[in-house]
C-alpha cells in the first residue's frame, strides 16, 4: 500500500439535483475530486457550470425545498457529510469547514454588529463568555488587517466598504480555525486592486492556519496566482483536472483551451481575446453525449452519442473528459 496522505475532503460521485416544474435535473453530475491537506484546489468554469452548487452541497446549504443531494459521498475526517443529521452538520459548519461567499454586500447581517457576527461563530462552537469571544473577534479583525479594529468591532456592515466586508467574512470564516475553507468567488465583486490584496491575504492566512482551500472562480488569472491544482467544470461535470502548471502549459479539453483563449493575459493584447461562442446549457437541456459538443470545434460524430468519462490523459495526475483530443494538448 502506498502511503498517500488522507485527503482533507473527498468528494465521490457527488450528484445534486434541482426540481424544475416537477422534474429533477442534476446541476452537479457525479463529481469526484479530493482536496489534499494544505492544498488549494481551484474550481473554474463559466457561469452556471455548477461551481457554487458543488460547494453548497458539501456544507449542505442548498435551499430546503426543490434541491436534493441525490447520490455520492462527501468524506470528511472519516464521516460522510451527506448522511449526517442537520444538528451534526451544524457543528461542522463554520467550525471545521467554513465558507465565504461571493457577495460581500449582502452576505453580512445588516442589523448585527460586525463584532457580534464574528463572535457568534466562536460562541456557537467554542462556548465561553461573550467577552472572550469579542476579544477573539478583535484579534481576527487585526489579523485580516482592518484599520482601527477596536472601534470597527461595534460598527454595522453598511459602514464598511466591499473589500472590508469581504475581510470581515474571512475573519468570520477563520474564527474557529477550520480545516477546510470553501471560498466561492470571494474576490469577484471587488475591484482589481482590492481583489489582489484580499487574494494575497487569503493565501497568507491559509498558510498560517494550515487549511485546505477549495477556491471557486471563473477568473483563470486568479487561478494561476493562488491554486495548486485546478478542476475545470462544465455543465455540472469536471471536464479536466490537473496541476496549475500542466493545465496552463498543456490544456487537454477543448473547453479548457477555449477558457484560456478567452482569458486576458499580460503577454497578449486584449484584442486577441476570443470569447467562447454559445453558453452553458440550462439544467433541463444538457445534451446526451458530450455536454460540450454543441460548442466544440473538434467534435466528431461519436461525440453526440457517447458520454465521455473522466480518464487519465496519459500524464500522471492529469484527467480529461474528452476521448478525441487528449493527445498533445489543444492549443
Amino acid at each position: 500500500m502506498t502511503s498517500f496522505p488522507r485527503p482533507a475532503l473527498d468528494l465521490r460521485n457527488l450528484r445534486t439535483e434541482f426540481r424544475i416544474r416537477d422534474r429533477w435535473y442534476p446541476a452537479v453530475r457525479n463529481v469526484s475530486v479530493s482536496l489534499m491537506p494544505n492544498e488549494t484546489l481551484a474550481v473554474v468554469g463559466e457561469s452556471g457550470s455548477g461551481k457554487s452548487v458543488t460547494a453548497l452541497s458539501i456544507l449542505r446549504l442548498l435551499p430546503h425545498a426543490g434541491a436534493r443531494i441525490q447520490g455520492g459521498e462527501v468524506l470528511f475526517e472519516g464521516q460522510d457529510l451527506v448522511t449526517l443529521s442537520e444538528r451534526e452538520m451544524s457543528s461542522i459548519r463554520g467550525n471545521s469547514i467554513a465558507m465565504i461567499f461571493q457577495e460581500p454586500m449582502t452576505s453580512l447581517n445588516p442589523t448585527m454588529t460586525v463584532g457580534d457576527q464574528i463572535a457568534e461563530a466562536i460562541l456557537i462552537h467554542r462556548g465561553g463568555s461573550r467577552m472572550q469571544a469579542k476579544a477573539e473577534a478583535l484579534r481576527l479583525l487585526e489579523e485580516v488587517k482592518i484599520p482601527s479594529p477596536k472601534s470597527r468591532l461595534d460598527e454595522y456592515p453598511h459602514q464598511f466598504s466591499g473589500g472590508m466586508r469581504q475581510r470581515v467574512m474571512i475573519a468570520m470564516a477563520l474564527a474557529c480555525h477550520p480545516r477546510v475553507l470553501l471560498a466561492d468567488e470571494p474576490t469577484t465583486a471587488l475591484d482589481v486592486t482590492i481583489q489582489a490584496q484580499v487574494l494575497s491575504q487569503l493565501e497568507e492566512l491559509k498558510q498560517a492556519y494550515g487549511m485546505s482551500m477549495l477556491f471557486i472562480t471563473h477568473n483563470l488569472g486568479v487561478v494561476a496566482q493562488i491554486a495548486d491544482r485546478v478542476a475545470v467544470m462544465y455543465a455540472g461535470e469536471i471536464v479536466e483536472l490537473a496541476t496549475v502548471d500542466a493545465l496552463f502549459a498543456k490544456p487537454m479539453h477543448p473547453y479548457t483551451a477555449a477558457l484560456l483563449r478567452a482569458m486576458p493575459r499580460a503577454d497578449r493584447g486584449t484584442e486577441n481575446l476570443e470569447p467562447i461562442p454559445g453558453s452553458v446549457p440550462a439544467l433541463s437541456a444538457v445534451p446526451a453525449g458530450c455536454s460540450y459538443a454543441p460548442r466544440c470545434p473538434f467534435k466528431e460524430r461519436t461525440c453526440l452519442d457517447l458520454h465521455p468519462e473522466l480518464v487519465s490523459s496519459g500524464d500522471p495526475g492529469h484527467l480529461v473528459r474528452c476521448p478525441v483530443r487528449p493527445v498533445g494538448g489543444v492549443h
Partner: protein, 312 residues
C-alpha cells in the same frame, strides 16, 4: 440614537403645524357658518351674532388663525358647548378607557399575529400556513362593525361569557371582562394584517444571503430565526402597526358604539350628534397629535431595529 430620535421629533413640528392649519381651514369651510350650524335653522339674528362673538368668528381671519394657534399651543382647546367642561377635561375623562382598549388591541394583534406569521413562513404550505392565511383573510374581510356585532352575538348573547354592555363596575376582573370583546374586535383585525405582513417579510428575509452565511457559520434553526431573521423581518411589521393606528381610530368609533364603551370614539360620535362644534374641533386636533406621535414613534422604532436608518 438619542440625536436621531431628537431629529425625528423636530421633524414632527412642521407636520403638526400643517395639520393644525388644515383643521383650522376645514372647520371654517363648514357651509353657512359655525354659529348657524350650532344653533340650527331657527336661530335669531341676535343669538347668531352672540354665538359668533363667543367663538371669535367676528374677528378678521388672520387674527382668528393666530389666536387659534396660540390657544392650541398653550393647551387650551376650548370648551364643550354641550357639557360646559373644557375639551381637555372631556378627553381626560375617557382617555384611560381608550388607552386600555388600544393597548389591549395592539397587544392581541402582535402577540397572536407575530408568532403565527413566523410559523407560517417557516412551515410554508403546512397546515399552520393555511390556518394563518384563513385567519388573515377572515380578519381583513369583515368590517369592524360586522365583526363586532358577530362577537357580541356569539360570545355575549349566545354563550354569555362576556357582558353585552360595558359595565362601569370598578371591579378589575369585571372591567377586564368587558374589555375583552371590544379589544378582540380591534385586535383581530390588526392580527390579520400582522400575520400577513410577518409571513411575507419573513419569507423574504429567510431567502437572503446573510441567512445562508449564518447557516454556514453553524447557527442552529431556532437561533437563525430569532437572532438573524426576526429583527430584519420586523421592519415592515412596524410599518403596518404604525399605519394601523389611523384605521384604529376609525374602527374604535364603531367598536365603542357597538359595545357602548366610553372612549374617544364614542366622544366624537356624541359631539357630532350634539353639533358640539368646539369639542369636535378639539378632538380633531387631539387625533392629529396622536397620529403624529405614533408616526414619530414608528420612525424611531425603525432606527432602533435597523442601524442603517440612522445614517440616511
Amino acid at each position: 440614537m438619542i440625536s436621531f430620535a431628537f431629529k425625528r421629533l423636530l421633524l414632527a413640528v412642521p407636520t403638526l403645524l400643517v395639520m393644525l392649519t388644515a383643521i383650522f381651514v376645514l372647520v371654517r369651510l363648514v357651509p353657512g357658518d359655525a354659529a348657524s350650524v350650532i344653533l340650527g335653522d331657527q336661530a335669531t339674528e341676535a343669538s347668531l351674532r352672540a354665538m359668533r362673538a363667543r367663538l371669535g368668528l367676528d374677528q378678521p381671519i388672520q387674527v382668528q388663525y393666530l389666536h387659534f394657534l396660540a390657544e392650541v399651543l398653550t393647551g387650551n382647546l376650548g370648551q364643550s358647548l354641550s357639557s360646559g367642561r373644557t375639551v381637555v377635561q372631556e378627553v381626560l375623562l375617557v382617555l384611560p378607557s381608550t388607552i386600555q382598549l388600544t393597548l389591549a388591541a395592539v397587544t392581541i394583534g402582535i402577540v397572536l399575529g407575530l408568532p403565527l406569521g413566523i410559523l407560517a413562513a417557516l412551515g410554508r404550505n403546512s397546515w399552520i400556513d393555511y390556518v394563518s392565511r384563513l385567519v388573515s383573510l377572515l380578519g381583513l374581510s369583515f368590517p369592524a362593525f360586522v365583526s363586532g356585532i358577530l362577537l357580541l352575538i356569539v360570545f355575549a348573547i349566545q354563550l354569555g361569557w362576556f357582558p353585552v354592555l360595558t359595565s362601569d363596575s370598578t371591579d378589575p376582573l369585571e372591567r377586564l371582562r368587558s374589555l375583552a370583546l371590544p379589544a378582540l374586535n380591534l385586535g383581530l383585525i390588526l392580527m390579520a394584517y400582522v400575520v400577513r405582513v410577518t409571513r411575507s417579510s419573513m419569507l423574504g428575509v429567510l431567502g437572503e444571503d446573510y441567512i445562508r452565511t449564518a447557516r454556514a457559520k453553524g447557527v442552529t434553526p431556532t437561533r437563525l430565526v430569532m437572532r438573524h431573521a426576526l429583527r430584519n423581518g420586523l421592519i415592515p411589521v412596524v410599518t403596518v402597526v404604525g399605519l394601523y393606528f389611523g384605521t384604529l381610530i376609525g374602527n374604535s368609533v364603531l367598536t365603542e358604539i357597538i359595545f357602548n364603551r366610553p372612549g374617544l370614539g364614542k366622544l366624537i360620535f356624541g359631539a357630532l350628534n350634539a353639533r358640539d362644534y368646539t369639542l369636535l374641533e378639539g378632538l380633531m386636533i387631539i387625533f392629529a397629535i396622536c397620529v403624529i406621535v405614533v408616526n414619530t414613534l414608528t420612525d424611531i422604532t425603525y432606527g432602533l431595529i435597523d442601524p442603517r436608518v440612522k445614517y440616511k
